[in-house]
């Protein structure tokens, strides 16, 4: 194959890569620096609200994997009392269908993402472990009330509300990497 002027294409490509040598990095030093995740993040593990749950097992029927196990008995006020609420998060695919199905907002997706365990038994969560705690915060997936209270997601394409709601700027986490791409 013959070219009229050999080397022009490579020179053009090199000019581009050379240009990129001078731009600020957009990567984040992960364990030290963390980005805010989406308000609707379907993060690891579920958050279960004991007071809201009526034991109707709609979530268990909605689960594609059949992961949620609920055992109830009839209580004094003719209501269901939940004896057992277990989720095998090792088989969970975080599709969020259980959360969407719940008619009483008793279930929410979690926001955490660093939930690796050393033993397989540890990923099966019972009803005490599933309740809200410091490490288990609910996300706004299919829960608009929770969504409105959560911090805004860090985007590489960012919308700045201060500048009239239209002006957009690049994500700047620290002063060093202001220019972005």
């Amino acid at each position: 194959m013959k070219f009229e002027r050999y080397g022009i294409g490579i020179a053009k490509g090199m000019a581009l890569t050379f240009k990129h040598l001078f731009r600020a990095p957009i990567t984040v030093q992960y364990p030290e620096e963390k980005l805010a995740v989406s308000r609707r993040i379907r993060g690891n593990e579920l958050v279960w609200f004991l007071d809201k749950c009526t034991g109707c097992a709609t979530c268990a029927k909605a689960c594609p994997q059949g992961n949620i196990e609920i055992v109830t008995h009839v209580g004094d006020e003719n209501n269901y009392v939940v004896d057992k609420f277990e989720v095998d998060t090792g088989r969970c695919m975080f599709c969020g269908l259980c959360v969407e199905a719940c008619p009483y907002d008793a279930l929410a997706m979690g926001r955490s993402y660093e939930r690796a365990q050393y033993r397989r038994g540890d990923v099966i969560l019972n009803k005490e472990q599933l309740q809200m705690s410091d490490i288990r915060q609910p996300s706004g997936y299919a829960r608009p009330k929770i969504e409105a209270t959560l911090p805004r997601q860090n985007l590489l394409v960012y919308w700045d509300k201060k500048k009239g709601g239209q002006k957009l700027r690049w994500l700047s986490l620290s002063k060093k990497r202001g220019r972005g791409v």
């Binding site: 194959m1 070219f3 050999y6 080397g7 022009i8 294409g9 490579i10 053009k12 490509g13 000019a15 581009l16 890569t17 957009i26 995740v37 989406s38 308000r39 609707r40 993040i41 379907r42 909605a62 689960c63 594609p64 695919m93 975080f94 599709c95 969020g96 269908l97 969407e100 199905a101 997706m109 996300s139 997936y141 299919a142 805004r152 997601q153 985007l155 590489l156 394409v157 960012y158 919308w159 709601g165 239209q166 957009l168 791409v181």
Partner: protein, 367 residues
């Protein structure tokens, strides 16, 4: 004196970095020239078709995410179209437009991945891929904002989509769409005139027009061979008849054409996106659909132009909550049958880049 040689059988894969997953090729070589090729698939088989028959229509949507995991949104799209055809559901206008925005951004992202890894196979180790990942990263952030996940979106629902767009989505998406042509120009500057790329791909491993049609290839592989066939134009599903765009067509069907068609399609997708965002109406995002859908007895085939070709879902209903038969027509399995015809007579290095130029996704082939 002629040297007596024997054909040599080389086993490539399944764990080979260039096979885009777990794909095995039994290649018979004469020196460095390929004389025969036998593809072996099935290493990623999960029985999704059979699993689908045990689940309700809504529960199948997360399974479709796991088919072509580079473009999950279009898998959702094709499946919900098939169910809506089966049950006769009409979906709101706003949901139609949101689906188009998602499908077209997914097409750009998938084509960027395809071109990036094609060049990776060519020997441009990771540099073009990282240029293209920069754009894909921004898009994944936007997907995360809308549906909460970055890879397995599970966003489309029967009768619409699961959530409305958040308020900060549209300005960010407009910015992404406005900048995309500049970035595609950047890739063009980096790649399209590069002498090494041209020498390695121009006229290499040609797929003739007749062969492409006879093996029922679709998508960029078919269009690179000069056949103007795009389901968005040929059988306008959803609301594609409202948009003004062109179907880029290659001339000879070599590896360069398959690269070129993808880059041009990304530009056309930007055009569709600009129109879709401008026309996006207000309103509901999901129609009223019963939680346990029982479609009437019958069958339906819903197909879309996925980034990799024609993706179809064939459903048979027996009026129960789960489909009686759930069949997937993956585009890349059918495009992959062209591989043997293309590579015989070429070198091993050309086999690798030709495999990359088909843009396969093993999740969808083995399913």
């Amino acid at each position: 004196m002629a040297i007596r040689t024997e054909p040599f059988i080389l086993n490539m894969g399944p764990q080979h970095p260039s096979t885009h997953g777990v794909f095995r090729m039994k290649v018979t070589l004469d020196g460095e020239v390929v004389v025969d090729l036998e593809p072996v698939i099935g290493y990623l088989h999960r029985g999704i078709e059979k699993l689908g028959e045990t689940r309700t229509y809504t529960q199948i949507i997360p399974l479709t995410d796991r088919l072509d995991y580079v473009a999950s949104m279009t898998n959702n799209f094709a499946y919900v179209l098939a169910v809506e055809k089966l049950a006769g559901i009409k979906i709101p206008e706003r949901a139609e437009y949101i689906r188009i925005i998602m499908a077209e951004t997914m097409r750009i992202s998938s084509h960027l991945m395809a071109v990036g890894f094609f060049l990776n196979d060519l020997g441009a180790m990771m540099t073009p891929v990282l240029y293209m990942w920069r754009e894909r990263e921004k898009l994944l952030d936007l997907y995360e904002m809308v549906c909460g996940q970055r890879l397995t979106y599970n966003y489309m629902r029967i009768g619409g989509v699961s959530h409305d767009l958040p308020e900060e989505f549209l300005p960010a998406m407009k910015k992404w769409v406005a900048e995309m042509p500049r970035f595609i120009d950047e890739y063009d500057q980096l790649l399209s005139q590069n002498e090494i790329l041209l020498a390695r791909t121009k006229g290499v491993c040609i797929l003739p027009r007749d062969t492409a049609v006879s093996i029922a290839a679709s998508g960029p592989v078919l269009r690179a061979s000069g056949v103007k066939w795009d389901l968005r134009k040929a059988d306008p599903y959803s609301i594609y008849d409202r948009f003004d765009f062109e179907v880029p067509v290659g001339t000879v069907g070599d590896n360069y054409d398959r690269y070129w068609v993808r880059m041009q399609e990304a530009r056309q997708s930007v055009r569709i996106l600009e129109q879709a965002i401008a026309q996006l109406p207000e309103g509901e995002v999901c129609a009223k659909v019963p939680k346990l859908l029982r479609p009437p007895v019958g069958e339906a085939y819903g197909h879309i132009e996925a980034p990799k070709g024609e993706l179809g879902f064939y459903l048979v209903s027996d009026n129960s909550i789960a489909p009686y038969r759930f069949h997937i027509r993956p585009p890349t399995l059918i495009n992959l049958t062209a591989l043997k015809d293309m590579v015989i007579g070429w070198k091993v290095a050309d086999l690798i880049i030709t495999f990359g130029s088909i843009d396969v996704c093993l999740g969808e082939i083995d399913r």
